[in-house]
Amino acid sequence: MRRLVRSSLLVIVALGTLIAPIAAAHAQDKTVEIPLTASNQAFDPAELKVKAGQAFVLVVTNNDPKKAVEVENKDLRIEKVVPAGKTVKIRVRALKPGTYIFVDDFNPSAKVKIVAE
């Protein structure tokens, strides 16, 4: 029993140390927010321009009333579900100049091209 209490405490502390910096990073987020809409199996706009070397936040709104969307870019290790009718913020780290394709992993024909320059 005592071991159980101790291990749950450990888990809580570990979770806290994990959440705190992430929450702090989110709270003082003054980074640019870029809106993106998903509906009808496509992203709107289909192409976005961002500043290279500067982190930004992708604010993805899923307008589909039923289908969830999973915004994914494997190279950037981004994989985030946006449930139907929801808006989710996705932090994207500073990018080198170039073109980055994000897909909807649940519907690979939906793509958005992000150009960092």
Partner: protein, 287 residues
């Protein structure tokens, strides 16, 4: 239909593989009755996935933004810890078994650890579980037309396909000799864990909690991790066509450390074969 089949098969494959190994493992050590721990762990993970899927759909704001990331990190690093421990434990038992092939693992010694096997099953299923729930849920809400039904059929076929793969692993694992099975799964699990560990590092980088993130090299011309073989290897051993420096370092360090921990038991010295057939006493475990 084909697309939904692939999505569900891919999400379900890792879970099926882990379950197949763990089921075969329990059979191999003569604890077939303890497979219920695994079944319970897997079933609880399905429930947790549904709860998580509902929560993600219901919540909004910062909790919905970072909550799934935090849970994903906890599950990834939790799974790495469990798999490492599991590999270490299996390696130790392989050594004991070489002393007396027919001898079954000491009952009390083993049962003390078996709830951990259930936990491994839980993390394996839960890892991609919530996403799969959300995806299948989306399919189920579109049943009013024919394409909705074929999409759902594809999703169901994907689940079945993943289950069949897990079952094949289970059947294959059962037929291998005990030592070979232990050697193969111990090494495989180390690579799975190394892949998970480096993917956790990659996630921390993408969230800005670790520096860097630029790819160090690009082998997508040789094997693309978006393709079927590359994607399979990505899920299994963490293959990345464009890995970051930290991910590579993490992968190598993990593999080196875990190998030092596990392999001496697997391929190290033989247990002494005494004339009076005394078996080495198992060292007490502290878990």
């Amino acid at each position: 239909m084909g697309a939904t089949f692939v999505v569900v098969l891919r999400e379900g494959f890792e879970a099926a593989l882990l379950l197949g190994i763990v089921y075969a493992y329990l059979t191999q050590i003569g604890h077939a009755e303890s497979r219920r721990y695994v079944t319970i762990g897997g079933a609880l993970a399905v429930v947790a996935s549904i709860v998580m899927g509902v929560a993600v759909s219901a919540l909004s704001g910062p909790l919905a933004d970072i909550g799934p990331d935090v849970i994903a990190l906890v599950v990834i690093f939790g799974a790495v810890a469990l798999l490492t421990w599991h590999g270490w434990w299996m390696g130790r038992h392989a050594r004991e078994m070489r002393g007396d092939l027919q001898r079954r693992v000491d009952e009390a010694h083993a049962s003390q650890q078996l709830w951990m096997v259930g936990l491994i099953a839980f993390t394996g299923v839960f890892r991609e579980g919530a996403e799969t729930v959300l995806f299948l849920w989306g399919l189920m809400t579109q049943l009013e037309d024919v394409s909705g039904w074929t999409a759902l059929a594809g999703g169901a076929a994907g689940l079945i396909g993943a289950a069949v793969l897990g079952w094949l692993v289970f059947q294959g694992g059962r037929r291998l000799s005990v030592q070979r099975f232990f050697a193969v799964t111990s090494v495989l699990i180390l690579f799975v864990a190394a892949g998970l560990f480096s993917s956790g590092i990659g996630r921390l980088q993408s969230m800005g909690l670790l520096p860097g993130g630029e790819p160090l090299w690009d082998t997508s011309w040789l094997l693309d991790d978006h393709g079927s073989i590359g994607g399979f290897l990505a899920g299994l051993v963490g293959y990345r066509a464009r890995p970051s420096a930290l991910e590579i370092i993490g992968y190598i360090l993990y593999l080196a450390g875990a190998t030092a921990l596990v392999l001496p038991g697997l391929f190290g010295r033989r247990a002494p074969r005494n004339g009076n057939n005394v078996v080495e006493p198992a060292t007490p475990s502290h878990v």
